[in-house]
Homo-oligomer: 408 residues x 2
């Protein structure tokens, strides 16, 4: 009988332990805990009546088709709806530029699988989305992280790194991964000028940009900045791979998203998808099609923006009130998305602080260290404001303040 | 602008072209073609009223929960239902032994990812399931194939190969992949004695067995043979990883399946799943739970067995009638599943014959060569009998006979 399974596991997976956040979520299920940890949309935003109506129609009209094997790249009707949807954001693509994925996470993993050999480098922000880090980790790359700035990725830092690698005759990064709008976890948005300079860099060194855009439609104040993908299209290029999900603009439970990019990239991604999961479920796709086609999206997004803006304002007000008095405690001021990033004094390790906060004050968050590809900073935490109810936001931040007071 | 994307792709994926069958299916969409190509269940078997009823209940009771992020290993309710379902097949497992996957294909890919480094070897049948070959190919293993026999995998051949590798101080295969019941593509079932000897081999050399069981519940004649997983449990072992799908026993459109095995294996598979797709969609899972819990499964399977048995009988009768007269043309006699395997005279290349059959006679199948991991034989074809209507089975096999007559 096999006793030591680990000896049989692949080099990529043998030491891979997956997603830290997922494991922590189990720990904070008790109902008296106020949790700022998961990145969940509020179910208040789910278009419930539309979903029931759509499902009825889908199961009435074509049940046999819905439950059969279907097209691997995605349903034509959904692909067309996504193409129309992206036009409203100044992105103009064709069918050959798009792959329907089984979620944003899936789109990220397919991207990592397409490009990364063990030891290849990837340029990322410090901090950046932990889901991208774990997906890429399955290919064992080397992460090169540069501290993010208040106006987005440190592009000068990216350039210096690339020059340094080139000078040392090292292979250049396989791609640059960024979340330019309301970044997870920092809530920071990349300014227009930086997006253009990042494209210059990509063109100069032939390094693709992976633009992860889960929150782009969720802007609560300030003016929208063109996506890097759309800026690239103005140059007639296609150096950008765009990753999108229905999780934040519709509902996570549909488990669908889409990747867009150069036809050669999409073609290879389809190859990976077919050997990985074959096709995406058609009921779920038809639901997204119905959502995109039968919703006044402008009004829908405005309503959700209003809903989340209020939560963001309560969060900021509560932070001022309960955390404003502490020295060396600061937070980012997002213009959209689901998160903000709190920096505590250097002496506080937020992983240890997490367990104290949960046990003593019944409040939870995600320790910042999981958002680093290498050499994690320990004194930050990610706070989600989309899911907790308004009263929970106030009370939870008060508890956070109490806990800080005790341990500072 | 990036011109040569291929230079950036990973070694695993750069030359990977995916699933040949998928690409051929596009070619045979015209309605006058009778296709024996895809491995689809007949929609006549879908429990349509149950699906509508179940969906209504799911969306009425807990829509907010259904559309939120959910548990990565799978819904507890589905896991419990699967545990009960497997008990009826003499398999007794706990929650720690099971992972809900996004399809049989997904279960296979997760298995390949868990075990395979580039260059690792995998023992397989010749022929074997092409979907497994393409999934494993993404890790660039070396396939060692042994010709399958009328009573299942050639276990003596497997043993000789392992001994040969051991003698040459080569690494042993990472696992042995088999489809013991009504194998795809050959329709062959492994006899009991071979299952036991395969287990002996697995125990002697510490090589896991990957038992892919999509068709196990679809036996149309003869007596059921215990699964290798259940035989292993009688030895108190857990060397077998069982792969299952809802596609053939319920409907492909739910895109769900499950992997079972040793807790350490399942734990690692959960890690892979969370970084690959996070969770499976809950509506789809709840539908499968409803199906397992609210169906008289014995009666349901008996009905579907009756339905497919008739198609199998018509297929065999038609083959006797239209192909029986040709020398060196033979076919397997499956006791279940969806496929049988036709061997033509050596001089016929079934890939070339495919295009002739489609163009001249409007009949399609899958050329046998896609079912080999290495050194493909060219004179076989796979014939699916589950999907075509009864009249199409007769007419399609007649057309196949006409085409053979012309080209022999």
């Amino acid at each position: 009988m096999i006793k030591i399974w680990k000896d049989l596991f692949s080099d990529n997976i043998g030491d891979f332990e997956g997603y830290t956040i997922g494991k922590m979520l189990k720990y904070i299920k008790e109902p008296d805990i106020i949790s700022f940890a998961p990145g969940m949309p509020s179910p208040d935003t789910f278009p419930k009546e539309m979903i029931r109506k759509a499902s009825d129609a889908i199961l009435r009209e074509n049940l046999e088709g819905v439950f059969q094997y279907t097209s691997i790249p995605g349903e034509d009707s959904l692909i067309e709806s996504v193409i129309d949807f992206l036009k409203t954001d100044d992105i103009n693509i064709k069918k050959e530029n798009i792959l329907i994925t089984n979620s944003g996470q899936h789109g990220i993993d397919i991207t990592g699988r397409l490009f990364l050999n063990p030891g290849d480098s990837v340029l990322i922000d410090r901090p950046t989305f932990s889901g991208a880090i774990v997906a890429f980790q399955m290919e064992r790359p080397q992460f090169i992280g540069i501290n993010i700035e208040d106006d987005g990725s440190n592009i000068d830092g990216f350039r210096e790194k690339i020059k340094e690698l080139k000078k040392g005759d090292n292979p250049l990064p396989k791609f640059i991964y960024v979340v330019p709008d309301f970044q997870n976890p920092a809530g920071i948005t990349m300014k227009l000028q930086k997006r253009e300079i990042l494209l210059d860099l990509s063109y100069k060194y032939n390094i693709p940009i992976v633009e992860d855009s889960p929150y782009r439609a969720l802007r609560y104040c300030g003016d929208s900045i063109p996506s890097i993908f759309s800026l690239d299209q103005k140059r007639d290029g296609m150096n950008v791979i765009g990753l999108y999900t229905f999780s934040k603009i519709f509902a996570p439970g549909v488990r669908l998203g889409f990747n867009i990019g150069h036809p050669r990239v999409v073609e290879k991604m389809i190859n990976i998808k077919e050997a990985n999961v074959l096709n995406s479920p058609k009921w779920n796709q038809d639901l997204c099609t119905f959502f995109l086609k039968n919703t006044n999206l402008k009004e829908y997004f405005r309503k959700n923006q209003d809903y989340y803006r209020k939560k963001l304002e309560i969060t900021i007000t509560s932070l001022d009130k309960y955390l404003g008095k502490f020295d060396n405690v600061s937070w980012t001021k997002p213009e959209g998305g689901f998160f903000l990033w709190i920096t505590l004094p250097k002496k506080i390790n937020t992983m240890e602080f997490f367990y104290k906060a949960v046990e003593e004050e019944r409040v939870a968050f995600v320790p910042g260290e999981v958002f680093y590809g290498e050499n994690p900073e320990k004194n930050h935490l990610r706070l989600n404001f989309s899911y907790p109810k308004e009263e929970e936001l106030k009370e939870g931040i008060k508890r956070l303040g109490n806990c800080l007071k005790k341990h500072l």
